[in-house]
């Protein structure tokens, strides 16, 4: 068979669509759920990991910076204890101290000075010319004079470059003195500058006014109220580290990790763009999305391809089934014609046998030379008449058969159902006689003509008549066919008073291949073919049966029928070999 691909009908197209949708929903939903849940879990745990890592990092640096500042204060305090304020005017002594400090701690200490309680610098050692500088109005001095020690914010001061001061107050001879040291901004800055992670992670320090205490790697203007909120949050919650994720001034989503420094004066902030901080997560997400997209494409492709293939196969098998149904009807037609033919052959056999014997008898007579007297002539005439009579009988049978055979095509035509039934009853008369069955027809006059296939209806009634006769074969009985008009339909009843059909079989009686006849005697197709033919005509066939009472088949055929019949299911000749 070389079957050309047939364009699929809307039914199969919607079937394909439904299958594709179903397959897609069923396979994509779990995939989506699993991917989503895993990604969510991964994202949560990765966030936690990053938060913990950054928190620890910032905490470590906070401690680093705090201890750095502490250490410097201790250094100066230690120095202050050793200063002889009596010799404060001598620049040499303090220069020695500075060089000692620088020797021990590197160039962290830029300069060193001793300021009296009026803000006059009494002694100074360092690279700048700041001897006799007056700090009376300096902000740091006002604060430092009230505390045992003080670390200032970063400021430009007199020297015009950023720096901050560590000041230690000392009382000598009832006068307050302040020993101050300038911390090298670069080396302090280095502490914070070292905090670099990824491409965008960096740290900086802000004071309570929101001013930078270090020089951030990326230039930006901090938003004051946000940082003030950090201060208050950290103080209120008593937390050491606060982590937040929000949009920064340029609209980039960023992570802010902050910790208080210097007893709450400063805020150490670590900032990193979220995309950078969670770059692993992003990579995982991108991979997941790529896998999902490719998996999805594969699933959709498979769904479309498989469904298309399966639906095509279904369509093909439906088509084959349709062809087979057609063949089954043909087979059934042949079977019922075969049954009829057997009956007719027998019917015709009898007259033929008589003719044959009469002819032989005539020959016997001639052989005996008996053709002289009156009685012999009469015997001759009787025999010849018998041959003639039997010949006519044969002719009658052949005519009936011919009229049946003439109408074996399934063309739709206008037909008189009463005539059709009478004709079939006449054909069945011989068999009825043998089986002792009385045939009764009660057909209403002036029934409207039906538009149907003569041969198909013939087949329906032949099957029903044969079945009824089979049922009454042993017992004899009455077979009655009635036809009347009712509500635009023709109602035909085929009733026998045979043994009836058991209830268990009644439901399956129209099923193909269902038969109660011995194997080899019935195809089990007769009634299913009847059913198919009547359904096709838009009519209906029902059965009522009672055991020991009889069976009635009732057929309803609409008077206007045979229009708009669906012929597309019939195979085209070139589609099967």
């Amino acid at each position: 068979m070389n079957r050309k691909p047939i364009p699929l009908s809307p039914y199969y197209r919607s079937l394909t669509r439904n299958m594709v949708l179903l397959v897609m929903v069923i396979s994509l939903t779990p995939m989506l759920l699993v991917t989503g849940i895993i990604l969510d879990q991964f994202s949560t745990s990765h966030h936690e990991k990053v938060y913990a890592h950054l928190g620890e990092l910032v905490l470590k640096h906070k401690q680093n910076i705090d201890s750095f500042l502490d250490e410097k204060v201790q250094n100066i305090r230690f120095l202050a204890d050793s200063i002889d304020f009596g010799r404060v005017g001598q620049a040499v002594m303090i220069a020695e101290d500075l060089s000692r400090l620088q020797g021990a701690y590197g160039t962290v200490f830029v300069d060193l000075g001793v300021v009296d309680e009026n803000g006059q610098q009494a002694a100074y050692a360092g690279p700048f010319k700041l001897e006799k500088a007056d700090y009376a109005d300096a902000d740091w001095f006002k604060k430092a004079i009230d505390r045992p020690c003080y670390i200032s914010d970063v400021f430009l001061g007199l020297r015009g470059s950023p720096h901050f001061i560590i000041a230690v107050r000392k009382t000598w001879q009832d006068r307050k003195w302040i020993i101050r040291a300038t911390i090298d901004f670069l080396s302090f800055n280095g502490l914070v500058e070292r905090v670099r992670i990824g491409e965008t992670g960096f740290a900086y320090i802000l004071n309570r006014e929101g001013q930078f205490q270090t020089k951030p790697i990326f230039d930006f203007i901090p938003t004051l109220d946000i940082y003030i909120r950090y201060f208050s949050t950290l103080e209120r919650m008593g937390k050491e580290v606060e982590i937040q994720e929000r949009l920064d001034g340029t609209g980039v989503k960023s992570l802010y990790v902050s910790a208080l420094l210097k007893g709450g004066d400063w805020l150490l902030v670590y900032k990193q763009a979220s995309s950078d901080a969670f770059s692993d997560l992003r990579n995982a997400q991108i991979i997941a999305v790529i896998i999902f997209v490719f998996g999805g494409i594969a699933i959709v492709t498979m769904a479309v391809w498989m469904s298309g293939k399966m639906v095509r196969r279904i369509a093909t098998s439906d088509n084959e089934k349709e062809i087979m149904n057609q063949q089954v009807i043909e087979t059934g037609k042949l079977a019922s014609i075969g049954e009829l033919a057997a009956g007719i052959a027998h019917e015709i056999n009898n007259p033929v046998a008589i003719m044959f014997e009469e002819a032989n008898w005539l020959r016997d007579l001639i052989e005996d030379g008996a053709y002289k007297d009156e009685a012999d002539i009469q015997e001759f005439e009787r025999a010849l008449n018998q041959i003639r009579t039997q010949g006519l009988r044969c002719k009658e049978i052949t005519l009936k058969l011919l009229s049946f055979a003439r109408k074996t095509d399934s063309r739709i035509e206008d037909l008189d159902i009463g005539h059709l039934i009478e004709e079939l009853m006449a054909l069945s008369a011989q068999r009825a006689k043998y089986s002792n069955i009385e045939l009764v027809t009660r057909i209403e006059h002036d029934l409207p003509t039906l538009s149907a296939s003569y041969s198909e209806l013939q087949q329906v009634f032949l099957n029903l008549i044969n079945n009824a006769m089979d049922a009454m074969d042993k017992t004899g009985g009455t077979l009655e066919i009635s036809a009347k008009q009712e509500e635009g339909q023709i109602l035909i009843g085929v009733t026998d008073n045979g043994p009836g059909i058991p209830k268990a079989n009644l439901g399956r009686i129209f099923d193909p291949f269902f038969t109660t006849k011995p194997v080899g005697s019935g195809t089990g197709l007769g009634l299913s073919i009847c059913y198919g033919i009547i359904e096709k005509m838009g009519g209906g066939i029902t059965v009522k049966s009672a055991l020991e009472v009889g069976t009635t088949f009732e057929i309803r055929i609409p008077v206007k029928t045979g229009e708009g019949q669906d012929n597309q299911t019939v195979a085209e000749p070139d589609t099967c070999n």
């Binding site: 027998h346 046998a353 008589i354 044959f356 009469e358 006689k433 043998y434």
Partner: protein, 159 residues
């Protein structure tokens, strides 16, 4: 050519002549013919009579059974397709009533199955209608010969 007919011995008609003479020399065979086709039964009876066979006509199974009850027959010819009863049923009844009477079945075309069934139930042989009389005669003679043989054996056995 009428002349050559006499000189040749062995033509079917001459064989029949010889048979006929043989048939005439003994007592007539009593045959029961059961067939519902009256025309057929009539003409068959006439033809069989020429061969020294005395035919009793029965037009239905029940009539055949009634006749068999009343008198004995040497052989029965039974049409399997009868109006009132199934031929096989009649055969069974015949065989029960007179097991020694050979029954020859007449069947239509296409009913070989029935013939085989009949043979299983003890029918002597079968013929398909329409048939040559010679064929039927042959089977009748066979049946008679067989019957005589079994009768003899029965007599010996009963002695």
């Amino acid at each position: 050519m009428p002349g050559s007919k006499k000189s040749r011995i062995g033509t079917p008609s001459e064989k029949m002549e010889l048979e006929k003479e043989k048939e005439c020399s003994r007592a007539p065979i009593r045959l029961l013919l059961v067939d519902d086709e009256k025309g057929f039964v009539d003409v068959m009876s006439k033809r069989l009579a020429r061969h020294n066979i005395q035919t009793t006509q029965a037009f239905s199974g029940s009539e055949g059974i009634r006749l068999l009850k009343r008198s004995d027959f040497d052989v029965a010819v039974l049409d399997l397709k009868l109006g009132d009863m199934d031929g096989i049923e009649i055969l069974k009844i015949f065989k029960k009533m007179d097991p020694h009477m050979p029954v020859i079945m007449l069947t239509g075309h296409g009913s070989q199955k029935a013939s085989v069934e009949g043979m299983q139930y003890g029918a002597f042989d079968y013929l398909t209608k329409p048939h040559e009389l010679a064929g039927l005669m042959e089977k009748i003679n066979d049946a008679i010969r067989r019957r005589e043989k079994t009768d003899d054996t029965n007599e010996i056995a009963s002695r």
